[in-house]
Subunit: 329 residues, 2 copies
């Protein structure tokens, strides 16, 4: 390394060879490591509308034996490895979206809520801070559309001060979800493990109060945003089509609620947290076949950020092809 | 839509149905569209080192008949469509990277330069502004490593004021590149269409001046960053392996200099701008086979942002599997 040949001097490589010693020079202070990720949002147009995918962060936990109800853990781990994912780990990102229709500022689902920020040491519950980083004022939100009543979709209805996060917004929920989760009979009949979800819905909507309206699938929840019935994950789970002319995106929400690397590639696999597993598989097939046939982009709440991808058939399953990131809009 | 049935009232869908009329209310002012993309950087760790992929933006132009030298335009367009890309368009993103080794702050390639910002109406030449958005001070950069002498890699050596963009940095260039492009005989023998690249190299290094050192491939250009000979695109083109323990990334630069959707999938296709097309194909095969075998991540200068992906074999070609975006670091 220290041999200075004529060739290395001519080529200037002597300087390169000497670099490993550079740290010895005390004045050669390194710039500090940043440790900070880019603000977690990505913006794209649907016709004249502006969609902002805003990450709520991600959680990583152990892979339970029932994560896939109808496949062996070995098969699941093999699929994870094939997808360049860690074995024995459930890696779960969360990405609500914001649609500015030009006439309405609409938030679709709300993430785990700011209380999760502390609990997760900052890795999850980021939605409201990333929303601010994206230049979106919570106070300016006209409508919050909820797809279903799981905590990662509704808990962010509550702000950092414990009050309503979107005090000026109409909160729109699927009628079938409201009916199911707020029904005391359903709660009392639920298994003990399922009871907290019922209690959580009461807690959240207790804060949101009277500003909740209910919608049936098939209805426009805002101009350009049509709700689509997609039950299975929960009884009243809704997806959305955001459309302007021929420009259309399927905001699938939780059609695939587990890792995309598993359930998009193997659509018959049943996710352990889907309430009606067979129906969830049927819904997944139906909507993905539609998206493939109509060349619709798919925005997935639990897809890797920014969660917006093309979808193609691949053998018996599907494959996501992430969109080409646009550095401008 | 306006029929208020008992069911719709109970379900609250009357409100949803009324929404399309909401725009009539004059006080219902919409939030303005943002029109702004997120800051274009993405950060990840390689061992204890911190890599920041920073986009310089993208350019979109017509697809020339010789974009792929050995495939028909129909075949190229079919491959573009299969990759969910526009037909008849060359979509070219540019992503230099910054490595903070802990001891050195190293920029690898510099983008099209800030002069391009105006020319492209902001879609390209973004590197230096995105660098600032990433919290990286140009003045703190210790070394700028150049892979080869094409304008999209060297022009950003010049700052917005026309002076050196990284005045405190050592500028390290491949010895074979310097020798080739700065040789007056080579310039005089070059075809007219190729002459501007020679003149551009003289212009840029005239500004950078005496702070240029030359390196041979195989050498460490900084601790943890080893240059790798990868000729074909140009005579002295270099790639890099950024490594810390078992954690390794191949910074491929222009092993695939055209659209990944074409040349990663069809590695035998010859890119029109590769100087030695057969050698470029051999280099591509060799380094991708290595990355596949050793499960190395690949960071591509012309891959879709953030340009960091896993790579797998697929038939006779390869497939990029973008990394799972981490909302924290």
């Amino acid at each position: 390394m220290t041999e200075l040949t004529r060739r290395s001097l001519l080529a200037g490589t002597a300087a390169a060879a000497a670099l490993p010693l550079a740290g010895i020079v005390p004045t050669d202070a390194a710039a500090p490591l940043s440790g900070k990720q880019a603000p977690g949002f990505y913006r794209y147009k649907v016709g004249t509308m502006e969609v902002t995918a805003v990450t709520d962060g991600l959680t990583i936990g152990p892979l339970s034996d029932t994560y896939v109800a109808n496949a062996s853990k070995d098969a699941v781990n093999a699929a994870l490895e094939a997808g360049f994912m860690a074995r024995d780990r459930a890696t779960q990102p969360y990405t609500p979206v914001v649609v500015n229709t030009g006439g309405k500022l609409v938030v679709i689902d709300t993430g785990l809520g700011p209380a999760m920020l502390q609990q997760s040491k900052g890795t999850a519950g980021q939605f409201q801070t990333n929303l601010a980083a994206a230049g979106i004022d919570r106070m300016a939100v006209d409508a919050v559309v909820i797809s279903h009543f799981h905590g990662d979709h509704i808990n962010g209805l509550i702000g950092p001060d414990g009050g309503a996060a979107y005090p000026n917004a109409e909160v729109m929920v699927p009628a079938a979800e409201y009916k199911f989760w707020m029904d005391d009979g359903n709660m009392s009949r639920a298994a003990d493990a399922a009871k907290p979800a019922f209690q959580n819905a009461r807690r959240v909507f207790g804060v949101v109060g009277s500003k909740v309206t209910q919608y049936d699938p098939g209805k426009d929840v805002a101009p350009g945003i049509t709700s689509v019935s997609s039950p299975g994950h929960t009884v009243g789970h809704c997806s959305y089509i955001v459309a302007a002319g021929s420009d259309r995106v399927l905001v699938q929400v939780d059609i695939t609620a587990g890792m995309a690397q598993l359930f998009v590639r193997n659509p018959e696999w049943q996710f352990g947290f889907d309430m009606d597993k067979q129906l969830a598989v049927q819904t997944r097939r139906k909507l993905y076949d539609m998206a493939v046939a109509e060349k619709m982009l798919v925005q997935g709440f639990h897809f890797p950020f920014p969660g917006i991808a093309n979808i193609e058939k691949d053998g018996n399953g599907y494959r996501l092809v992430p969109i080409f990131w646009n550095p401008t809009i």
